[in-house]
Subunit: 337 residues, 2 copies
Amino acid sequence: MAGSDRPTSRDVARAAGVSQATVSLVLGGKWRGRVSERTADAVRRAAGELEYRPNLAARSLRLGRTRTALLVVPALTHEYFARVYTGAARVADEHDFGVVLYPSPEGTGPARDPFGSARAAIDGVIASSMAADALSGIADGGLPLVMLDSGPGAAGGPPTVDLAVADGIRQVVRHLVGLGHRRITHLAADVDTWTFRVRAQTVREELAGVAGAELATERCELDVGPARAAAVRALTAPGRRPTALLCDGDVLAAGACKAARGLGLRVPDDVSVSGFDDLSLATALDPELTTVRLPAEDVGARGMSALLALLDGAPTPPTELPVHLIPRASTSPPPTD
Amino acid sequence: MAGSDRPTSRDVARAAGVSQATVSLVLGGKWRGRVSERTADAVRRAAGELEYRPNLAARSLRLGRTRTALLVVPALTHEYFARVYTGAARVADEHDFGVVLYPSPEGTGPARDPFGSARAAIDGVIASSMAADALSGIADGGLPLVMLDSGPGAAGGPPTVDLAVADGIRQVVRHLVGLGHRRITHLAADVDTWTFRVRAQTVREELAGVAGAELATERCELDVGPARAAAVRALTAPGRRPTALLCDGDVLAAGACKAARGLGLRVPDDVSVSGFDDLSLATALDPELTTVRLPAEDVGARGMSALLALLDGAPTPPTELPVHLIPRASTSPPPTD
DNA sequence: CCCCTCACGTGTTACGTATAACGTCCGGGT
DNA sequence: ACCCGGACGTTATACGTAACACGTGAGGGG
């Protein structure tokens, strides 16, 4: 039957006994002072009866806007980015916006043309944890752009939403120092993005102010295996063994824990391990990880809000979201020995 | 400059000295025998110069199809579903298709109306791990539908892509039995979907054929905390303690490991633990989990292929993908004691 | 009594694309 | 000489919506 053909605004108009233009006005919400309350009600009722849904393609064509945003993330399989998406999608949904993801092969940035024919038409872009130059194509294209976790941009640049990463690292360092740790190795992700640069720098700065502090650094890829290898290097390096491993992420911390156990060391009795991100992994491990909770959903949500504001021409001041240390079982005072 | 307004097919036509219709023919690929090679080349060259991209809204309006699929997943923050998405997006991309996700608040199925704003914009739906009745609205709406991980459908029903879950469970049971285990507790997810029903049933069936086998079952929510509690119950239940915990997922296995350690038991020396899914979590834990690897990306990819076939009116036979046991360190022969 | 204004709608158009329905030119068969 | 048909394009139209620019009465001020 006709169940498959969806009703158009003209069908609604016919049912309500008005013209298509009136339907558009009423349902578009811009009818105040142009259509009587009675007529508007009739239109709305007819639309309800027919289960009318506006044809988005036609609307987009007419308006030149699609109410769709592109979210660029390095890898959706990383829980952090999945959560960023979730937050962004929630806010988008509240504003009748859609979100499409940049289908990037794991880890690659938007090297491919995001305006390729396949991708949905886009009103704006939200890019997370991208090197700024990786987005030059988008900026040149004149598309509204919001950057997440990329550091405070230059004035006049795209709006930004950042986490207080430096503060988070400071909390970790103070936590460790407060427990009595002085020999600390920073297990650093070998990734050249703002967030990791800030972490490295903050660890240095914060520890520089502590008497007797000794900082070492081991770099590795952002994965368990490499982290384990790096932690082994850290724990078997010549000189006195570090009493704490400060890791750039929970995933690295997991590797560090494996390394410690492999060397016959107990966590946290012989060596403390701290993470970052507070992924579900943090409480799946045993001992549970002391880590820093990142409000990933909020990052996505604020990013989407910023984009919506930008599209409205509203001012979009840079945002920085606070982060919090979550002390758990993987850190304790260093061995007295 | 005019850099912001994108060129239309008419602009290309003007540049190439032909009509808009010819541009559409050439770029649409249906010009054989209707347009000379020379002209076609001129059109393509002009399109290249102007960096012409067809307006997708206009195309969708004209064709009544959007080249976009909706992927419904319970929760993107579960690594399995993120990987399903990745696979689906890859195939979609290869066919100039887009994928949008159903923006479902964690865990809820399409309780909200998937036709809200999205329906107009999609050509079909891929639903993963859904209870069949949760999708009645979609089926009724006449939208092409493919179901993932929902079991072989009735003939005439929507195409399906499933994992050989039963075989995976059989491999685990045989692995444990082969190691010598007889008292096994199944840590079962308290979720009423096909995949988990099959697992419970298969464990029963497979163990029924083993002399002296004793099967117990503990149900819990699909999370670390509840799993830990359930595992504690299992390990402290009256009677002889099980020597192996067969878990319905790596997440549950993580909880089981924590429970064991909390009770002073070593994994795998005192109790073996097996997982399912082979998430990155499986190798982040210590000991690494014996588990079953699920080709999540393939599930998504095959699902998208099936949907594309369905849209082409091609036959779409049910698919079942094989799974493989990955033996690791969390299982060993039971204590001889 | 006439015209202006306001309240309430309607006719029409354009958005950019794909395609059905037409030309037009030209060589060849009869 | 006439018609036919293939090769090569073009003209015109529809998709469904939003919004501009007009009607059209009714009521009121002058």
